[in-house]
């Protein structure tokens, strides 16, 4: 069931702008908080835990985990925005309803939310990369900048997954499923925190099916080495699954909003 109102248009940018206006009121506090958090993560995992880990293919554990943290921050940020944030807009504050009394379609609203998730992912990942560069963990600034489109895709993808849940959720507590079934497995098994080599075949296969794994491979390759093996394959999986999830998000939100 694809209704006319589900097709997005340029008007999605008007929704995106609303989110930006709202963000302006709290970003300073958020950036300060995130910055401190990122430093803590890096110290705890990269240097604390990292002391126990031998060098991996000639790179330190802190180097290894840096790109993994960049990608997972993109995932966390866009997930929060699209689950708790979108549910609040959809059900509590009725922001969606107000938008729908203006000439915006559901497709515009969903795409606007997703573009915003991508934007937040870029902001979060950039902060993390600034922290990495302070610790000398970025190979080249230009290669680091080149990961931003991938981060944006990660934001779109997890924004879409979050919106699917937000459309289904009967209450806020529903999102604990989303976190334990979608976010946590990827956080742990998408080669974010440890390499998969030497793990049981089943686990490695599972990891390959996680879309985030492919984002991590691209981002790690670019940040550390400035090149990525099988780049097009990883990009295809990442972009393909993002498109599918975006369609699912539109359907889920439409079912909730149109009676």
């Amino acid at each position: 069931m694809i209704a006319a109102g589900m097709v997005p248009s340029r008007r999605a940018l008007r929704v995106w702008l609303r989110h930006l206006v709202q963000y302006r009121s709290f970003y300073v506090a958020e950036w300060a908080g995130n910055f401190g958090e990122h430093v803590l993560y890096l110290l705890a995992f990269g240097y604390g835990l990292g002391r126990l880990v031998p060098s991996l293919n000639g790179i330190s554990y802190a180097q290894f985990i840096g790109p993994g943290l960049v990608v997972s921050i993109a995932m966390w940020t866009s997930t929060f925005e699209s689950t708790y944030g979108a549910y609040n807009r959809m059900r509590v504050q009725k922001t969606y309803e107000a938008m729908m009394s203006a000439p915006l379609s559901l497709g515009d609203i969903v795409l606007g939310d997703l573009l915003w998730c991508g934007t937040r992912a870029i902001i979060g990942a950039t902060l993390m990369m600034i922290v990495l560069s302070l610790f000398g963990l970025i190979g080249s600034l230009w290669w680091a900048l080149s990961v931003l489109p991938i981060i944006f895709l990660v934001g779109l993808m997890f924004g879409s997954l979050g919106l699917v849940s937000a459309g289904l959720a009967p209450s806020f507590s529903f999102f604990s499923f989303h976190f334990s079934l979608v976010v946590m497995p990827m956080f742990f098994f998408a080669e974010t925190l440890f390499p998969l080599r030497g793990l049981p075949d089943g686990l490695r296969l599972f990891s390959q099916t996680l879309p985030l794994t492919h984002a991590v491979k691209i981002v790690r390759g670019l940040i550390i080495f400035g090149r990525v093996d099988d780049f097009l394959f990883h990009l295809f999986i990442l972009a393909g699954s993002t498109l599918v999830f975006m369609a699912c998000a539109t359907i889920s939100v439409s079912r909730r909003m149109m009676s």
Partner: protein, 305 residues
């Protein structure tokens, strides 16, 4: 000459599961008219106007709004229509001014072009000094006025309001009424729902009384009251009310019993009052018939929940 219709619904219906919320209503609202939908809770008013402004998809019937077929031209319709919903849909995370310009932006009006309009509208609803205030610091009446201002940002031709003054204090309510009358005299077409009979009497050229998803009667408020109720009502509440009513036999009055009260509906109460006086009955109230009598006669006196 037939006046132009801004809203034209025929056989419009909507069910939620087994519940027929709106059961085939026909509605015509002319350009520049103020039409009020009255009805008890659950009568289907909100569902009806939500279909008209495109938030609920009808199951059946035809609907055209501002000359466009509602199913096909929904976005174009919304460009020329303002909606004041029953629930507060203000953006709680934004200030008063940002609420206004973000909403203007939804219509594609740039920040610079919207600025004068926002000032004018905040003046109009007396919220100019709340410009930078956060929404959570506004009272219920202020929020409602801001919702009205927001709905007017794009100079709509049709304004739809769902219970615009429910929960407001008398001052705020009168201000809203005054503003709506000004808008109406400026040529705006208005469709509203209300529980307040006084609101309907003050604002509406025509009303429709709804119950159980249907429009029971429709017409100008005063005319409807005269035709359906009469000119005057006498209420008898004393212990001897049945005996007193018996003294009025032969006058051809309509009598209604509800709880501890007898209602007598009549063209003129003069004769009835004479008879009551000579029968020694003093515990009665004589008053003009109102929209409330019409409403209660049509929709019954029991509670709707």
């Amino acid at each position: 000459m037939v006046a132009e219709l801004d809203i034209h619904a025929r056989g419009l219906s909507k069910s939620f599961g087994a519940l027929k919320a709106v059961d085939g209503i026909t509605l015509q609202v002319e350009r520049g008219e103020c039409y009020g939908m009255l009805g008890p809770n659950g009568a289907g008013k909100t569902t009806a106007i939500r279909m008209i402004h495109g938030a609920v998809r009808p199951d059946g019937g035809e609907l055209s709004v501002l000359g466009r077929d509602a199913a096909a031209g929904s976005r174009r319709i919304r460009e020329e229509m303002g909606v004041v919903p029953q629930e507060d849909t203000l953006d709680n995370e934004l200030s008063v001014y940002n609420n206004m310009w973000v909403f203007a932006n939804y219509f594609g009006i740039s920040r610079r072009r919207s600025r004068d309009r926002i000032e004018e509208l905040l003046d109009f609803v007396q919220l100019r000094d709340k410009w930078g205030e956060q929404i959570k610091n506004l009272s219920g009446g202020m929020k409602r006025r801001l919702l009205i201002a927001r709905a007017l940002i794009h100079r709509p031709r049709l304004l739809i309001l769902d219970e615009p003054t429910t929960g407001l204090d008398p001052q705020a309510r009168h201000l809203v009424w005054q503003r709506l009358r000004e808008l109406k005299s400026g040529g705006l077409t208005i469709l509203l729902t209300t529980h307040y009979m006084e609101e309907a009497a003050q604002l509406c050229d025509r009303i429709g009384v709804m119950a159980q998803g249907r429009v029971l009667v429709e017409g100008p408020p005063a005319e409807l009251v005269r035709e359906r109720v009469g000119e005057e009502v006498i209420e008898l509440r004393g212990a001897g009310r049945e005996a007193a009513a018996a003294a009025l036999n032969g006058l051809g009055l309509e009598i209604e019993r509800a709880g501890d009260t007898l209602y007598l509906y009549c063209r003129s109460g003069a004769k009835a009052v004479e008879r009551l006086a000579s029968a020694g009955e003093r515990e009665f109230l004589r008053r003009p018939a109102s929209l409330e009598d019409l409403f209660l006669r049509l929709t019954g006196r029991e509670l709707r929940e």
